[in-house]
């Protein structure tokens, strides 16, 4: 299941307008409807975030962001994104290489499995890690077992009070899960469309596997890769449901930015909540801007 907006696309036909147009009143009605819908559902909420963020002045705004709890949330969010994005990037490139450059049985099954995380509710994404690593889960039961298979590991984990659930590792894992398909989903169709012949040509000319990848494949997929990374990062920094299950929500320790926003909101500190939320709204705008820029770049490459 691909989020529909995540694939680069270039139209084949320049529109021939004069022979394919509706009467002016129909056109105006449709444009009006579309703009009202967009205005009501997208532009108004966006304006609202920033108005609310500055409702108590610029001083309060910066005070809301520049405080230890907020900083701790920002650091944790950056850490989670900093680990999950590169890992999913490596995975995406590997999966796309195997799927686009080779033929093998079960390819369609693999493609469907890669899409799985998109179709799983964020709450369930968090739940599954609780079931594996929680005190009642697979690993938890193992650690509390009378005779663990690897006693030194069980002892070490117990001695160091190493926790996954309600701690940072769980947050990172949940983030990896929800952002799992982004890069792969972007690269697979791109690399399938580009075919294998450039890589084969490089091989015949004597290039090693790594040389083929760095000198031929990577330059061809760089915009698609960047596109996937941008979307992956936006989701990683903004994930709420999955993280909220595994985090335990200890302020200053296991709160990410979205969880911090929830906490402020629940405390009726609306202006504070919107001040911090404006950071993520800004990130969303930057994401959309970069996305549009990459699409533009990619279209230019294809046009050349």
């Amino acid at each position: 299941m691909t989020p529909a907006g995540t694939t680069l696309h270039v139209p084949h036909h320049p529109a021939r307008r004069h022979t394919r147009s509706e009467p002016p009143y129909v056109r105006r009605l449709l444009i009006g409807t579309a703009l009202t819908f967009i205005g009501l559902f997208l532009i108004l909420p966006l304006l609202f975030v920033f108005t609310q963020a500055f409702a108590k002045g610029i001083g309060f705004y910066f005070h809301s962001i520049d405080e230890p709890m907020a900083w701790s949330a920002i650091k944790l969010t950056l850490l989670a994104a900093g680990i999950s994005v590169p890992l999913n990037c490596v995975f995406g490139v590997c999966a796309a290489w195997a799927i686009a450059k080779f033929d093998f049985y079960g390819k369609n099954v693999l493609l469907t499995l890669i899409d799985l995380p998109f179709s799983v509710s964020p709450v369930i994404a968090g739940l599954i890690y609780v079931l594996v690593f929680g005190t009642q889960g697979w690993l938890g039961l193992y650690l509390n077992a009378d005779h663990p298979a690897l006693p030194w590991l069980a002892n070490w984990l117990n001695d160091h009070n190493f926790k996954i659930i309600y701690a940072v590792p769980g947050i990172v894992l949940a983030t990896i899960f929800v952002t799992f398909p982004f890069v792969a989903r972007e690269l697979i169709p791109l690399m399938q469309a580009q075919g294998r012949s450039e890589e084969e040509a490089a091989r015949v000319l004597g290039a090693s596997g790594w040389q083929v990848f760095w000198r031929v494949t990577l330059p061809n997929i760089k915009w698609g890769l960047l596109y996937g990374v941008i979307l992956c990062n936006a989701r990683a920094m903004g994930e709420f449901g999955a993280v909220s299950v595994v985090s335990g929500k200890i302020r200053g320790q296991t709160n990410t930015i979205p969880l911090h926003i929830e906490a402020l909101y629940d405390d009726y500190n609306f202006t504070g909540a919107f001040a911090v939320a404006s950071l993520l709204a800004l990130l969303a705008l930057v994401t959309l801007g970069l996305k549009t820029w990459v699409e533009h770049k990619n279209a230019a490459v294809l046009d050349k």
């Binding site: 299941m1 989020p3 529909a4 907006g5 696309h9 139209p11 021939r16 307008r17 022979t19 394919r20 009467p23 449709l30 409807t33 579309a34 703009l35 819908f37 559902f41 997208l42 532009i43 108004l44 966006l46 609202f48 995975f91 590997c94 195997a98 450059k101 080779f102 693999l110 493609l111 469907t112 499995l113 890669i114 799985l116 179709s119 799983v120 509710s121 964020p122 709450v123 369930i124 739940l127 599954i128 609780v130 079931l131 594996v132 697979w138 894992l173 899960f177 799992f180 596997g209 903004g238 909220s244 979205p258 929830e262 909540a273 919107f274 939320a277 993520l280 969303a284 705008l285 959309l288």
Partner: protein, 277 residues
């Protein structure tokens, strides 16, 4: 023969297994700790049934509204020129990019009784207090799910609409079809697979949605509690078995939807290449 097949496929399967498949298997492992009777009792308890009805009903409604408006937005973006078109085109993806928690508190405040929109839609309840009709109601959940589902239909229909060969429409016009007939008999059938795919994507996304809904929904059991919130509630009470049982129901529905979406996309692609050939 290119190198790296074993390495890349091996890593792909390893990572997929570690991050996705093994943890997902844990759901089925955990739910097997319940007896069949316990499982059935949990997934059919009144609170769960009410949450399914609410979640499915409102998700369906939101996806239907997006089907109509998404098609109009896609049409306008592909076919017409107007001021701010590029900006609108870029903004369509905002629900993908905006974190759900931000969307959640924004919609909740916007539609509350003092909010920019909510203030115009109030009523007085039995305790003589003014309330927004969106707050703690299906309508509020509907607004949130419409917001998060908005890009799906636009983005699946847009590329197909862009690729429709102008000659097809010109041929239909030259054969005497009027504008509405061209749309209804030529364009719409070509868009149908994409519309269905977009609809299924928006619906699937709405079913599992959590962050953007919880702030506006009020989460009143039996009334405005969606299924993901019910799972969360069971988890907060350390009822892992029950949370897992309900999760199994949702997962099965998601997998069925995922499969039908893949079939639909395969159909869309085939349909499309067929048109171009």
């Amino acid at each position: 023969m290119l190198p790296g097949f074993k390495l890349t496929l091996g890593f792909t399967l390893f990572y997929l297994g570690l991050i996705v498949l093994i943890p997902l298997a844990a759901v089925f492992w955990k739910s097997s700790s319940l007896s069949w009777a316990e499982f059935w009792q949990t997934v059919t308890m009144p609170q769960a049934m009410a949450s399914y009805r609410l979640t499915f009903g409102v998700s369906l409604g939101a996806a239907l509204v997006n089907l109509v408006f998404g098609l109009i937005v896609a049409w306008v973006l592909v076919r017409y020129e107007f001021f701010g078109k590029k900006l609108v085109d870029a903004l369509v993806d905002l629900p993908f990019a905006l974190p759900t928690a931000v969307a959640g508190i924004t919609l909740a405040s916007l539609y509350s009784k003092n909010g920019w929109i909510g203030q115009f839609f109030t009523y007085t309840d039995e305790h003589h207090e003014v309330q927004s009709i969106f707050f703690s109601s299906r309508l509020g959940i509907f607004v949130a799910l419409t917001f998060i589902g908005l890009p799906f239909i636009v983005r699946t229909v847009q590329p197909i609409l862009e690729d429709i060969d102008p000659e097809l429409e010109e041929a239909a016009s030259s054969l005497g079809a009027n504008r509405w007939q061209v749309f209804h008999r030529v364009i719409l059938p070509m868009l149908t697979p994409a519309l269905l795919t977009g609809f299924a994507l928006a619906f699937a996304r709405a079913l599992g949605e959590y962050g953007s809904v919880i702030f506006i929904a009020g989460n009143i059991p039996m009334k405005t509690q969606i299924t993901p919130v019910l799972i969360m509630q069971e988890l907060d009470m350390y009822e892992y078995g029950r949370a897992t049982a309900i999760a199994v129901v949702m997962l099965v529905v998601s997998f069925v939807l995922l499969l039908s979406i893949n079939v639909l996309q395969w159909w869309t692609n085939r349909h499309n290449t067929h048109n171009l050939a």
